[in-house]
Symmetry: none
Subunit: 219 residues, 4 copies
DNA sequence: AATGAATGAGAGTTCATTCAT
DNA sequence: TATGAATGAACTCTCATTCAT
């Protein structure tokens, strides 16, 4: 293929990926048909197979597309020399605005990647794990720098950030009126400070005690 | 359907609901076949229709089953006279342990209820909304009692609790080795205190400033 | 089985046949389910099999029931010594009032008997053919007695009577407001006299000529 | 469905309609399977759905096909200026030869249209009613022109013509050896002249008396 | 005499996929 | 580059039938 034609092919393929992302996000992988995808793209069903070998491949491409620059941005954030608080907020901003800017591919990665064949799933998972590990490292730096309590579990913390962002991501994807910046600030505030009132002088130990005193019985 | 002696029928139907819950949780509604459900239950595919009018009805029953006592427990918690911190922890405990005890029906409610016909979806949604509202009220009480900062957005807070619990719920459903109690404690701690180190003397304003100084540009 | 119980069984079986007749007449054999029939009878689906070996047997019984006394009555009419005109009217009366009195079994015989296994179908057909042959004989007698033109084809005539009665039968079954007696009279009149105006003096040959002169081209 | 070059598609679809007509006529709508239809057409079952959205749509198309030019021809007959006798014979000829020429679609219209969804059924029924009304008008003209007795009920007459033609239509569809022209002539003769012998001099009143004297007891 | 429960075969329908054009 | 046409497998659902009780 000459260069120009190749360009057109690549461009069309990218459109196909975006169309698939939109449809998968709305109806789920199994709830979407190749006809749905083709129609959103404005071509006929059979023509999709010019761009994908199978519906599954389309899912793989969507997931890859969804996670790729999401991870890239995290690399940038982790490599920067901002203080912890700024890195956290940058992470949240990056994560949440993904749901607005980059169509719905990240949501598809989150919800549908388990329908991928194992090999592909593992490849993608390692990308996602890399993301989480970078985030864990950021937390570890935060502890070391004294910005964070040294009692926190960095693995838990990273997971919690991701979880809370994904939960809001669902809301953001479904409701275009949500104020993204408002959510970002509130999430950051929650993760840094929690909801509790602070007395003027306070000892951290107290906080832990409160929870500890609940006498929870493990079932 | 028998009138009297419906013991067996009701018991079998309950089994069918549990089987459907397990399968839907694993593969999603559209990714599951009625054959899958029947096989898990140990009957033949066509026999499922002795218990359900349609696959969709099965989904409805699973969702109802998933949310019902989850909501009931929240009613109990909200009505109790514990302090805020205890109510929060009780909520988290109830929510997370749902994923262990009550099989996977709650996850199905979260992820698949949008495939229900509108009427049913609305009925169920009002149950779920009731849950969130109770939680919001708990937060409002917390603010009034002085346990929480009065700057927090109770709607956001309730949503965040639910979101974080659901995120961990996914992990819990998929990985039976996760220490439920550990997660519960860490979630409670996060939501109350955040991750940040507290200096011996600290002004709440500082906390806000930190986030405020990031000069985030709304896009 | 003791006599009394046998009586009850026979009575119930008769009810089953009537129920089947009603349902088959309304929805056709393949459009009816055994559940429909059982429900109309007020028993449960499986219980039907106490009275019929199969759905097909039920159809057979309905058809037999539908044609039996219909044929019996024709035997009575044919054996009587009324003049032709009276026999014709009696035949039409018997045929059309079957659709009102004897529920819908005759309609089922007409429309659904072809779904019977061949053996049974042939048995029943011979009953129906007997009916037509008796009717043909009545026509032949009519010709011999001079009541009918000797140019008529008695086979055609019998078929026509049956056809016209069945056509009106459909109307009668579906519309309970139709005046049965009115239809009977008009059918009799049509078959005897046709629609044409008679001149005071007329030659039968003319009538035939009119039709004959149309120069119809057989395709 | 192609816009231009829809030659092949339209042709194949027409084949599908004819196949469906043949199968429905033979086994009834509920007794026919889509596999039967596809096999008669020489394609695989699933491929039928390239031409029909559902089995029901196929029935609708068959019925439409069955009634359309049948009605058209009646329009032509009614608009012509032939005498009554010729119009009647033309009607019968058109009706009966439909069963030979246009495959079995007209029979399907007669016997199976009640299984259509109401909207479609009503649309088609109005076509059929138009047919009957034209026929009634022809009879009314016949009465006015003096060709017919003025005692006849034109609604009854039209219905009778249709009924008798449909009854013979069944025979014609099932038995290809029947002599169409013979049936046409005999039907016309019957409808015009009835079966009764005419005396050289006869009073119409007599004819009516005969039937009237039967002393039929309305039940 | 009747029923609840289950079954298995087959129905209509959808859909990912292929391929000649 | 794209499409019309077809396919076959899978799916949801129905239903006649069986049988222990």
């Amino acid at each position: 293929m000459p260069e120009t034609e190749n360009n057109k092919y690549q461009h069309q393929r990218q459109q196909a990926i975006r169309s698939a992302a939109a449809v998968f996000a709305e109806k789920g992988f199994h709830g979407s048909s190749t006809k749905d995808i083709a129609e959103r793209m404005g071509i006929k069903q059979g023509s999709l197979y010019y761009y994908f070998k199978s519906k599954e491949e389309a899912l793989g491409e969507v997931c890859l597309f969804g996670i790729t620059d999401y991870v890239d941005r995290m690399n940038g954030i982790a490599a920067s020399d901002q203080p912890f608080e700024a890195k956290l907020m940058a992470t949240i901003t990056s994560h949440l605005s993904s749901y607005r800017e980059k169509n719905e591919a990240l949501k598809v990665y989150n919800d549908e990647r388990l329908y991928l064949p194992e090999a592909k799933r593992i490849t993608l998972k390692s990308l996602g794990s890399g993301y989480r590990q970078l985030l864990e490292m950021i937390f570890e730096e935060g502890v070391q720098s004294g910005a964070l309590r040294d009692s926190i579990d960095c693995h838990f913390a990273a997971q919690a950030v991701i979880g809370i962002c994904n939960a809001w991501g669902d809301v953001i994807v479904r409701d275009p009126d949500v104020d993204l910046f408002d959510i970002i600030q509130k999430c950051t505030d929650l993760l840094l400070n929690g909801f509790r009132e602070r007395r003027k002088i306070q000892r951290t130990d107290d906080d832990i005690d409160v929870a500890g005193n609940l006498n929870y019985q493990k079932n």
